[in-house]
């Protein structure tokens, strides 16, 4: 099937009509945890919501010898049990399963020739390869795809989605990029960070650049500091072996949290003028994000960082084990499950404004937010000033925006109280796409805006690598607490205003 962009019945005004072109989606590692929890439900939702092309095949690829029936059963179970699936429609599920196939592969090039023959039989010349395997397999997968000629775009597009972590150090990320680029162009590579698929994260762009009232005050003149929190109440949940290698710095800070820093601190992307609009372009957005990372001052591990590891504690009224008591975790492990960092974005806008990052496992609750804390007014006109103004973006579990300001308490005396003006995404009612659903669809449509680029990934590794190589000592904290006490001291510096800084109570 030869496709073109010339379809006159594609209405440029109707985004819903922008369905992807017919394609095959090859999922390496289809029986793995990620595929079962996230990818298969997301792909099913795309089918259910009519966003898949009229002709498509999801081709699972893995080492296990699976019959078609076993593959379908696994997929059905995954879709039915995943909480992200949402409403299951029998008709849509049947359509999904009718378009699901499986091919067994191994590390040998011959098995990729077999994969190629399967793709030829399917007559779907556009192909998306989804790397949902352990990261150690990425390089060999790419090489095998290249050796079998499956990277050729002679008859249709070829794209790959690569799951995080993309490398474990700057060196390994560079090496992986080299291998990938020996097989694929950069424009074919989609490095996925599912945080960028979340509505509220994207809303950061809307909030900042579609409103005139916020952007003029988001700078060193008005902002005292920024707090970014990504707290999880979960422990290892069977991922102990992975976490022993990754730790909080690789698992969260280098990627997810860094994306939040970038979207908070970046300058408006500049794009070419089209009609009366300056539509957001993938390149322009990625350029601005990279600039933020390059503007980060090097960290002093002893002064700017507090690392922690949870011990036994209590959560939701129940006793929980410490990290060292988790499955597949060393009893003497020094892996950090908590990190608090003080960042300086050393550019014209943010010079002198600390960005405090906090991410951890086994916090009292799951909560991710970006809070911009403003400076106090220059004069204290009222006897009891309550709290500084805060503009907070809630990312999970509830998505929304809140603005805190002081208001007079009704009565004869002048007393102030902090009040919150809240906007909750539930007010829109309609359910948005899941992060994976959104990002897979973007990739199928060829929109790379929300995928980190090669230079961005390498820049973030270059920034965090020294900390990973020379981390400070890990401090203990109880599961169910907000982390080591030492983290409180991170907020204070030489400025008088820092004395009243505190981590937000979430």
């Amino acid at each position: 099937v030869i496709l073109s962009d010339s379809n006159p019945l594609r209405d440029p005004e109707d985004f819903e009509q922008h369905s992807p072109e017919p394609c095959a989606i090859i999922v390496f590692g289809i029986t793995g945890d990620l595929a079962r929890r996230k990818l298969l439900p997301a792909l099913y939702r795309l089918v259910r919501d009519g966003r898949m092309p009229q002709r498509f095949t999801i081709l699972g690829a893995g080492r296990k010898p699976l019959s078609q029936e076993e593959n379908n059963t696994n997929a059905r179970q995954a879709i039915e049990s995943a909480k992200e699936t949402g409403v299951i429609e029998a008709e849509s599920l049947e359509r999904f399963l009718r378009n699901l196939e499986y091919v067994q592969i191994d590390d040998e090039p011959a098995s990729f020739m077999r994969l190629g023959r399967t793709l030829e039989r399917l007559e779907l010349s556009n192909q998306l390869y989804y790397f949902s395997t352990p990261p150690s397999a990425y390089a060999q997968l790419a090489r095998n795809i290249g050796a079998a000629g499956l990277n050729s775009q002679a008859t249709g597009w070829r794209r790959i989605i690569v799951e995080k972590p993309f490398g474990t150090t700057l060196k390994s990320a560079q090496e992986l990029n080299l291998v990938m680029h020996s097989v694929f162009e950069e424009s074919q590579i989609y490095r996925i960070d599912h945080f960028l698929g979340k509505e509220t994260v994207q809303n950061m762009l809307s909030l900042r650049f579609a409103n005139a009232i916020f952007e003029p005050i988001l700078n060193r003149n008005y902002v005292d500091h920024v707090q970014i929190t990504a707290a999880e109440d979960l422990g290892m949940e069977g991922r102990g072996a992975f976490y022993e290698e990754a730790g909080i710095l690789r698992d969260m800070i280098q990627n997810h949290v860094m994306q939040l820093v970038c979207l908070t601190a970046m300058e408006p992307p500049i794009s070419r003028w089209v009609g009366s609009l300056h539509p957001l372009e993938a390149g322009a957005l990625r350029d601005e994000k990279v600039k933020v990372i390059r503007a980060l001052k090097p960290l002093d591990p002893e002064r700017d960082v507090v690392l922690g590891q949870y011990g036994p504690g209590s959560l939701y009224g129940e006793a929980v084990a410490g990290y060292r008591g988790e499955d597949k975790v060393s009893a003497t492990s020094e892996t950090a499950t908590y990190a608090a960092l003080r960042l300086q974005v050393d550019n014209w806008r943010w010079a002198g404004v600390p960005f405090y990052l906090r991410s951890a496992k086994r916090m009292p609750k799951k909560s991710t937010e970006i809070a911009i804390v403003f400076k106090r007014p220059p004069l204290a006109m009222f006897p009891q000033t309550a709290e500084p103004n805060v503009l907070a973006l809630n990312i999970q579990p509830e998505q929304g925006v809140s603005l805190r300001f002081d208001a007079k308490v009704p009565g004869l005396e002048t007393r102030l109280r902090a009040v919150n003006m809240d906007f909750s995404y539930t007010s829109f009612g309609a359910e948005g796409p899941t992060a994976y659903e959104r990002l897979i669809l973007d990739c199928l449509l060829g929109d790379a805006s929300l995928f980190p680029r090669e230079d961005e990934v390498e820049a973030s590794w270059a920034w965090i690598d020294p900390l990973i190589q020379r981390p400070p000592a890990v401090k203990p904290y109880s599961a169910g607490s907000w982390g080591p006490e030492a983290a409180e001291g991170l907020l204070q510096d030489a400025s008088p205003s820092s004395l009243e800084r505190r981590w937000r109570k979430l």
């Binding site: 019945l9 009509q17 369905s19 009519g50 829109f428 009612g429």
Partner: protein, 346 residues
């Protein structure tokens, strides 16, 4: 928790009454609304309008105002009252609904103060062209007076003649619910012609036949007009019975009205397309709605294959949500231009 709490108040007491309902509901008194949707309709059509608005309340935070227009002779003489309510949805917005009974003479004064300050106001003019109770001039006056002049109509109910009159007075401000209802067919057909080798059929189309359920033709003609606008069709000659159109240097378009017993009336709305046949020199593609499931089946004579494409039904509230949230469509205006060139607006 879902539910509704309400009260009956005087027209002057609406805002105070709503504030009290918010305070009484025992939640944080956060009032969020994206604007006001005013529905202007008749008592006879009130059940459909209220049902659509009730469904909409589950999706959109907006204040809805329903003005039920009674004939002047039914005016009671006593002070008019309003029914106010908060509609609460689990995991959804809480919306304000106001229903007032009025007549054409008083409707503007009753309704205009009810828009939320400085936010978008959309007017849904839910009338049929043959509705004798409706005072069109009063409605138009209200439409002009609404703060942003966005008018929601349904061309398949209103009729093209009245719509043209509105278009003339409210240029580029109409949002057509029929357009939203056609979206699934437009998308399905668009998807069918993604492969480049099928697109030659579109440029060499000789005949287009649309089988329509019931006797309302507006929806089908709007669909044809969309095709005409997208494919650049020129002027056309319409038959006297307005069922056949010969496009200059283009296809013959034929509408066939199917009596209800031929197609299972329960499956289709009045005026909905049941099937299409696009015929060219060497190929024809047939598309028909598959009964009982939200899919269309496409069959190509040249390729010898059949495939299915999603064709979900659009509920009245989904169409209303589209109209409430969007700006007037340029594609719709282009299609409307085709209807004019073909003499279908007369």
């Amino acid at each position: 928790m879902s539910g509704e709490i309400g009260n009956t108040v005087s027209l002057r007491g609406i805002e105070t009454g709503l504030l009290k309902l918010w305070q009484d509901q025992g939640q944080k008194p956060v009032r969020i609304a994206s604007g006001t949707l005013i529905a202007l309709t008749t008592p006879a059509r009130a059940p459909q309008v209220l049902a659509a608005l009730d469904d909409l309340a589950g999706d959109l935070p907006c204040r809805s105002v329903v003005a039920l227009l009674h004939p002047p002779s039914e005016a009671s003489g006593s002070a008019p009252r309003a029914e106010i309510a908060l509609q609460r949805r689990k995991n959804g917005p809480t919306c304000e609904r106001i229903v007032i009974h009025t007549d054409a003479r008083h409707v503007a004064g009753a309704v205009l103060p009810l828009g939320i300050n400085d936010m978008a106001v959309r007017l849904w003019w839910d009338v049929a062209s043959d509705d004798q109770q409706q005072d069109q001039s009063a409605s138009l006056a209200l439409a002009r007076a609404s703060s942003d002049g966005q008018l929601i109509v349904d061309s398949s109910v209103l009729g093209f003649g009245l719509l043209r009159q509105l278009e003339a007075q409210h240029r580029e401000t109409c949002l057509d619910l029929a357009w939203a209802r056609l979206a699934p067919w437009r998308r399905a057909l668009g998807a069918a012609f993604e492969p480049a080798q099928r697109q030659s059929l579109l440029s060499g189309l000789t005949h287009l036949r649309i089988n329509v359920a019931g006797s309302r033709r507006e929806l089908a003609w709007l669909f044809v007009a969309w095709l005409g606008a997208r494919l650049g069709w020129g002027a056309g000659l319409l038959s006297a019975d307005r069922l056949v159109l010969q496009v200059a240097a283009g296809p013959v378009v034929e509408l066939v009205e199917l009596p209800n017993h031929e197609h299972g009336a329960a499956e289709y709305g009045d005026g909905e397309a049941v099937s299409l046949v696009l015929t060219g020199a060497s190929e024809s593609i047939t598309a028909y709605k598959q009964l009982g499931v939200p899919y269309a089946v496409f069959e190509s004579s040249r390729e010898g294959v059949a495939w299915r494409s999603p064709l979900p039904s659009r509920s009245p509230s989904e169409c209303l949500a589209w109209a409430y949230q969007n700006q007037p469509s340029q594609s719709w205006q282009a299609a409307f231009g085709c209807l004019g060139r073909w003499g279908l607006l007369a």
